[in-house]
């Protein structure tokens, strides 16, 4: 019987069935559910599977690489911007190559449902010169993950599995091929190969040449991949559909009873012969990509091939997710008359939960900042980012994880007073600690407020890497003076006290850290409902 699984869960099940010994990840929408599914279901396996959260994507990637070095299969998962954090490890692991199968599942977020940008991870795959797999359905995801582990082991390279929000967060029936008890992990077999893994220039040059030498074979593998297939058809227009763009193209083809040929691509590098065949049989090609027009640009070339339509000439929208409607328009079908959204409609933006401690923190902080002429607050990514919206309008930057502290430091160096940063506990351990060390070494006048709600709330309440007294210890260890390392409780009843503490620390000309400690009301409620479950 089929199980109804999110695309993210289909990846997880595929990886468990492929016999992974561990998943390494840092949460990030829409990739989080991959690791959560493994955490919930790994008990079915006979052998242990590592699945605790990593501090950030770079540590996750490197641990996964180490597991592969030791001969066993590992999965590493992250959202698209997480690959920026792990990029150094990722690119270099293509030079060393791998031992046990290593699959990197990266979930992109076109239309930016929960992200700062809509960068396309396929570019990273091309950059690292490793194969990229981009399945179009939940079942294909399941099958492709198992395939990717075998493939990774056979070519000794990491394989990038790219998906987007729509597939990650959509459910469909998935048939599994392996029963939990018959999952087989690889045995420990650490590779002694310093000539591959010590990337000093003399080794790196040789390894890089090997990687270059493999590219023809990787193209040949794409040519024969089950993820790349031509659906024959008639007419002068052909469609080159990448990843889940295939679904929209097929939806339109069926709904309107059309018969154009479609080349579905879900395995890169490009299968050149298949592409040539499509281009030779059609006058016009619509290139449909879910993400950046990466391959459209390549196929179009610098001088522009006028037979190619896509995102770059406005046939499809330049930004955002595709859907059946945009694809239908691109294929020249007339736009349907639809009922418009009524004029009385108003937006309903997300907000901090009623009773959330971040609200009380911002109430105190706003009072303090309003007494200063300059009231810029540098902040970061998490639930507390919602403090940028009304009624608080309390924070004024959110760029990338960890940037609050370092941007406040730079602004302080430029002469801005006061320089204030607000960062969550999980974001602080992800990449805020190193920036704090910079500030301490430079004696930059800066106040860092850590909003410690004991969890990674925005992504659904995963364990953070350090909370409570451990956060205080970390700050002390980095060199924050005891007198300027303060803890407050963000509750209405503590408002006056909290204002006083923040006022003192913000006016002190040195590095100070104020940790606002109060558990997230969502995780607290969850623990109450289900005391056995660890948050």
């Amino acid at each position: 019987m089929k199980q109804l699984l999110l695309g993210a869960e289909a990846i997880a099940l595929g990886a468990l069935d492929a016999g992974i010994s561990g998943v390494y990840a840092y949460p990030g929408t829409p990739s989080t559910e991959i690791t959560e599914y493994i955490q919930k279901n790994k008990g079915d396996c006979e052998q242990p599977v590592h699945s605790t959260w990593s501090v950030n994507e770079k540590t996750a990637y490197e641990a996964a690489l180490g597991m592969s070095y030791a001969g066993r299969r590992s999965l590493v998962c992250m959202k698209h911007v997480g690959l920026n954090v792990a990029a150094d490890a990722f690119i270099n692991s293509a030079i060393t190559g791998v031992n046990g199968g290593l699959v990197v599942a990266v979930a992109d977020d076109p239309s930016m449902h929960s992200s700062q940008n809509e960068q396309d991870s396929r570019v990273y795959g091309k950059f690292a010169m490793v194969p990229v797999i981009e399945p179009a359905s939940q079942q294909e995801l399941y099958d492709a993950v198992r395939y990717a582990f075998d493939f990774s082991e056979s070519i000794k390279l990491p394989v990038l599995l790219r998906l987007t929000t729509r597939l990650a967060h959509s459910r469909a029936g998935v048939e599994s091929a392996v029963s939990a008890v018959s999952r087989i992990q690889k045995t420990l077999n650490a590779l002694y190969a310093p000539e591959r893994f010590v990337l000093m220039p003399h080794n790196a040059r040789r390894q890089y040449n090997n990687l270059l030498g493999m590219q023809d074979k990787l193209e040949e593998d794409s040519e024969n991949s089950w993820l790349n297939r031509l659906l024959p058809g008639t007419g002068t227009i052909g469609v080159l559909a990448f990843g889940i763009a295939f679904n929209y193209v097929m939806e339109v083809r069926e709904a309107f009873g059309l018969d154009y040929p479609v080349l579905k691509v879900g395995h890169y590098p490009l299968p050149r012969k298949k592409i040539d065949a499509l281009f030779n049989s059609c006058d016009t090609i619509l290139v449909a990509e879910e993400g950046y027009p990466v391959y459209e640009e390549l196929l179009r070339g610098y001088f522009g091939n006028t037979h190619i339509k896509g995102r770059l000439d406005g046939t499809l929208p330049r930004a955002g997710e595709l859907n059946a409607d945009s694809v239908a328009l691109a294929l020249g079908l007339a736009k349907k008359e639809v009922i418009p959204v009524p004029a009385i409609m108003v937006n309903r933006p997300p907000e901090l939960c009623k009773g959330c401690g971040h609200r009380d923190l911002y109430e105190a902080l706003n009072t303090v900042m309003s007494s200063h002429e300059q009231h810029h607050v540098f902040s970061d990514i998490g639930c507390y980012t919602l403090g940028a919206l009304a009624p608080y309008n309390a924070i004024h930057t959110c760029v990338d994880m960890g940037a609050s502290i370092t941007m406040a430091k730079g602004a302080a160096d430029a002469g801005l007073r006061p320089a204030v940063a607000v960062i969550g506990d999980s974001t602080f351990t992800h990449s805020g600690m190193t920036g704090l060390l910079d500030a301490i070494n430079d004696h930059s006048p800066l106040t860092v407020i850590i909003a410690d709600n004991d969890t990674t709330a925005m992504t659904g309440g995963q364990n953070s890497s350090a909370n409570g007294s451990r956060l205080l210890d970390i700050c002390r260890g980095l060199g924050v003076e005891d007198a300027h390392l303060r803890a407050i409780i963000p509750l209405k009843s503590h408002l006056a006290e909290n204002i006083a503490v923040l006022m003192e620390e913000i006016s002190w000309e040195g590095v100070s850290v104020v940790i606002a400690q109060r558990e997230c009301i969502e995780t607290a409620a969850r623990k109450k409902r289900n005391p056995a479950a660890k948050a």
């Binding site: 089929k2 109804l4 999110l6 929408t29 829409p30 989080t32 559910e33 449902h113 929960s114 729509r166 597939l167 967060h169 959509s170 459910r171 469909a172 029936g173 889940i244 295939f246 679904n247 929209y248 097929m250 939806e251 069926e254 709904a255 859907n323 059946a324 409607d325 239908a328 349907k336 008359e337 639809v338 009922i339 418009p340 959204v341 009524p342 009385i344 409609m345 108003v346 937006n347 309903r348 933006p349 997300p350 907000e351 901090l352 939960c353 639930c383 919602l386 009304a390 925005m458 992504t459 659904g460």
Partner: protein, 196 residues
Amino acid sequence: MQINIILAGVGGQGILTIAAVIDHAALQSGLTVRQAEVHGMSQRGGAVQSHLRISDREIYSDLIAEGTANLILSVEPLEALRYLPFLAPDGRIVTSTDSFINMEGYPTMEQIFDELHRTNHPVLVNAAELAREAGSIRTSNMVMLGAAAPFIGIAAETLEASIEKLFQAKGADIAAMNIRAFRTGQALSQLQATPT
């Protein structure tokens, strides 16, 4: 057979419980299901929606095309209107009349009802009140599912069996209460719905 349903509400109202029941019932009926949901940022009190598609054939797109939704099932009246461009010309709206106001500029109920009544025989449900009668305000999602049941293309008994299955872990009385809520919604819908 192909049914496209947009489930609408506000983050935290639990539209995914409704989706889970329909998904389960559809699979039990041997149908194909695709159900796209929203996780992440907007779950914090923002507008949320789920595209649910059921068919006896292969389904390609996880998203419903504009003008092709057979049903908009909303647990909040303003949210029902947000997705109007998706509604098919003969599609139906089934919505709760319990408003959830957490932003500026929320229209008057009169304005909302005017817009709802422009659509094809909307079914308007005082879900909270009916849920309380069934035993708990927490069953209001099952009241709404009951009210929408005639438009889902799955037998009511199958939907009830799925409610039973999904709530049984919480105890037999909770499951029974949710089925009671489902039937209350169904009865109201039969009273209101003019066949098309």
